[in-house]
Amino acid sequence: MSTIEIAEAVDETKAAPQARPASRAGLRLAGFLLPVVLAIIWEILVRAGLANGRLMPPPSVVGKTLWQLAVSGELWTHAWATLWRVGAGFGIGAAVGTALGALTGALPLARGLLDPTLQALRAIPSIAWVPLFILWFGIFEASKVALIAVGVFFPVYLGVAAAILSIDRKIVEVGRVFRLSRLAMVRRVLLPAILPDWFTALRGGLGLGFMFVVAAEIMGASEGLGYLLVDGQQLGRPDTIIAAIIAFAVLGKLADGLLLALTRPFLAWQDTARDRL
């Protein structure tokens, strides 16, 4: 039931596709119907003694736990630790991914040299790096940030390289006709042309960043929402686990929304239906 709530929270933007404005709000609310009804039924079943709420606590218990974590300040400590790791890992991964993606996209020589290796590295499940990163960077923040950076790097790298390779020749010819220098061509034509794809790649990278922060924190941390998950498991407190899962969903959604809001002004020129979806 709670997993449905989370899936719902993550996917709520997709709940209301291209409907008429009047019915759009209604459709969006309709998406809440199923999880809310299921939550109420579960609550009633547990209270009536028809179901055991120990392993799957009813919404009221989860809510109370979340409230207690928030009041004690614990929730904010954990959320901040997680956010910091994602932020640092995302920053590094996105920067390196963008730089290498631009390099291999723009220079055939760099593509021939680097791309096969990077594609091979991509085939390694990123979690497999964890033991090595712990040996290299220790068990504290550096190894976690490194893991997240690796997770963010690949979608950003692939997105930028593909975006550069798919730039419309016709637009580039306009730049050539006006005799733009190499630098001016990059600044005035190539960069704006890949902007939408770059932003999409960054969003994908951010999503993966949140995935890998969970992995990193589960494998050893003294704070962070992932630590809260492990803590709940070890103490036999499923309500804590679900509270942490909900916090992850909210955090991920907020971070994605922030990225979207920051990038949207740069894409006002786009002739797409994206805004309406």
């Binding site: 010819e173 006006f178 020129w269």
Partner: protein, 260 residues
């Protein structure tokens, strides 16, 4: 002013797009290239624009061989090719980035007025119709005052009314600085409306079939008998170019009556 000297272009896959092209164009002349599809018209234009290199021969502009795009050559493509992330004004002024902003704005506004787009400066290209976008492209090419203007079927995607009004806009802009113009078209009426000379080309490999002069003074009346006569002659030549395999550059007079 512009000379094609034994020009030939063979693509990497062996396709002979052009072969043995010799034309010379006088300063201020409007030259139209017409012909069936695949006769190398666009290839020829791309060579003049410096976007491709010829395989043989040279193109001389004021005695200098063209090997790369030049500042004094403007190009209007078949599609508007506006940059979607720039406003109409920034698109029209794309080639003026070396000028101070006020000077650029003055020139751009002037050019947009003359293509009938006054007040559209702040719009995005996506908000414009196809004809309006092509007008922005015309303004963009002419606002830099090129010595040579190249046009690749610039009006082919537009309806007849829009096309006729764009011919007017184009000639108005052309009058100001009288650049040399080389245009590709498949519309004979358009060629007769705009050009001083019409070169008919033939495919496989792309070569010159025949050429005819258009002595009519501007503005030209599309309904006058003289206009009709030249259009008919051009159509005949075009028809012959499609049925004949041998070029007959110097037998135009005798073959005029046996075009079928």
């Amino acid at each position: 002013m512009l000379t094609f000297d034994h020009l030939a272009k063979t693509y990497a896959d062996g396709t002979r797009a052009l072969s043995g092209i010799d034309i010379s164009v006088a300063a201020g002349e409007i030259l139209a290239l017409v012909g069936g599809s695949g006769c190398g018209k666009t290839t020829l234009l791309r060579l003049v624009a410096g976007l491709d290199r010829p395989s043989e021969g040279r193109i001389l502009l004021d005695d200098a061989a063209i090997t790369e795009p030049r500042a004094d050559v403007g190009v209007i493509f078949q599609e508007p090719r506006l940059l979607p992330w720039l406003s109409v004004a920034d698109n029209a002024g794309f080639g003026l980035s070396h000028l101070p902003a006020t000077e650029r704005a003055r020139l751009v506004t002037g050019a947009l007025v003359r293509v009938g787009l006054a007040g559209y400066e702040a719009r995005w290209p996506r908000e414009l119709s196809g004809g309006q976008q092509q007008r922005v492209a015309i303004a963009r090419a002419l606002v830099t005052r090129p010595k040579l203007l190249l046009m690749d079927e610039p009006f082919s995607a537009l309806d007849a009314t829009t096309r006729a009004s764009l011919h007017g806009h184009l000639l108005a802009l052309w009058e100001e600085s009288r650049p040399t113009v080389v245009m590709v078209t498949h519309d004979v009426e358009e060629a007769v409306t705009l050009a001083d000379r019409i070169v008919v080309m033939q495919p496989r490999p792309g070569r010159i079939f025949d050429e005819l002069d258009n002595p009519l003074t501007r503005p030209r009346d599309r309904l006058s008998p003289a206009f009709e006569a030249i259009k008919r002659e051009a159509l005949r030549t075009l028809d012959r170019s499609l049925t004949d395999s041998e070029p007959r550059q110097h037998k135009a007079a005798e073959s005029a009556g046996m075009w079928w």
